[in-house]
Amino acid sequence: MNQLNHALSLEEKPRKIIRFNRRQSTLITILSGLALLTAIIAASFLMSDEAIKTHFEARNLSPSWQHFFGTDWLGRDMFTRTVKGLSLSIGIGLLASTVSVIVALILGMAAATLGKTVDTLISWLVDVFMGLPHLVALILIAFALGSGAKGVIIGVACTHWPNLTRIIRAEVLQLRTSQFVQVSRHMGKSRIWIAVQHLLPHLLPQFFVGLVLLFPHAILHEASITFLGFGLSPHQPAIGVILSESMNYLSVGMWWLAFFPGLSLLVVVRVFDMVGDNLRLMFDPHSAHE
């Protein structure tokens, strides 16, 4: 008996360590991802605008210790422009995905609680928006609203809610039939009270995971429509602006103009993707209690 216990405890141990490590590494990934993003935003505020003014004496320099990412045809420091561009992109992405997620939350809950007509209408809207290619819809919206941050934010928000709306609707439909919600109705609670008190706490994980996973899309779409000329104005230090300007100089051999900003954008997007996936892992009901 004792031996058996011993054997069992031996078998238990390695499993525990692995589990602990997984959760720990998830947390580390999330925290370091967030740290990097905060660092970019902080750096953009700390860096002076001096470096992105015109310096004719330092034009077209290739990357060096003084200018990590080189300088452009006006002598502007590309590293500073990239950091400021990224930070602007992150800000716009955050705003756009927050709006998008809130829209999804409201529509998803409305579809699942306000009866058949509302549900049909919202499901139809979801299908319509899902059928429309994002970029096309984005360009149309951004064009209609005039270029600038407003058009981009509204465009991204309007095109990205359908997926999450579907998920939230399904979740609410399931929650609504759960016993504790039915009990609550029998305690005389109103639909709205139940939606806020019972349903919302269960949707918060979806909310945050959705927010973070939307982020890379928002940033990439912002960059691409800006690149195409429908987005932010050329005077703003946006990544999309930098990339589209650099295209003209690629043929002259100034590869660093597009390479480093493009790479940085890719890295930031990947980091968000990773944070999102790890968050989902953490909130997953099957692994939540490990």
């Binding site: 759960s178 016993q179 504790f180 039915q182 009990v183 609550s184 029998h186 305690m187 005389g188 609670k189 019972h198 706490p201 269960h202």
Partner: protein, 209 residues
């Protein structure tokens, strides 16, 4: 007051009828037992009586009128599985006070300890959780309590403690209680009369009273 089921019938989808032409009367202050084999439809009947499910045939009446559809329901059901009838993301205190504000004296009668109130549902045993569900359902507005295998997972002593508290309260407030259980001992001890939900019976237009 009376809670009445008049010639009710129910089945899930196209499955065979669980019961048909079934009638039952529960008076205020009466403790009625309901027995029956596993799967014969006791839980379903309990849900219908409490208004959680619509009957397909016949009707349910409370004091001569249909069951109200809004506000605090005078017919409360305590489910078999307490862990499903509490929101896992709520504190026990909020769960307890969802319908009304029970006083400390009542909590003590049901053996609910004060420090349980600040815990999460998954930090309590099934039996401890069930006490919360019972007290939650026993507001002064409750006229009838339907207890579906309410104490099936408890040990004999805890079971006795809870039933004693409920019976006392039923006397004080003139509550009518339907005790759904397959434990003969329990039914014999607490109930004034017992009916059986027997599928064979029900096929033949039963009227059990």
């Amino acid at each position: 007051m009376q809670l009445e089921a008049k010639n009710i019938g129910f089945r899930y989808h196209q499955n065979p009828w669980l019961f048909r032409n079934f009638s039952l009367t529960l008076n205020s202050g009466e403790i009625l037992g309901l027995k029956g084999q596993s799967g014969c439809g006791k839980t379903t009947l309990a849900r219908i009586l409490a208004g959680y499910e619509k009957t397909l045939e016949g009707r349910i009446e409370l004091g001569g009128a249909p069951l109200p559809k809004v506000g605090y329901r005078a017919v409360q059901l305590v489910f078999q599985h307490p862990e499903k009838s509490v929101n896992p993301r709520w504190h026990m205190r909020d769960i307890l006070q969802e319908g009304w504000q029970p006083d400390d004296e009542l909590l003590a009668r049901f053996g609910i300890q004060q420090d349980w109130l600040s815990r999460w549902p998954n930090e309590l045993s099934g039996g401890e959780l069930q006490r919360f569900c019972v007290v939650r359902a026993l507001s002064p507005e409750t006229k009838f309590l339907i207890a579906d295998e309410m104490t099936a997972m408890l040990d004999a002593i805890t079971q006795a403690q809870i039933w004693q508290a409920i019976l006392e309260l039923a006397k004080e407030r003139d509550l009518g209680i339907l005790v759904v259980s397959h434990e003969k001992e329990l039914v014999k001890r607490v109930c004034d009369r017992v009916i059986e939900l027997d599928s064979v019976h029900l096929e033949r237009n039963s009227f059990i009273s």
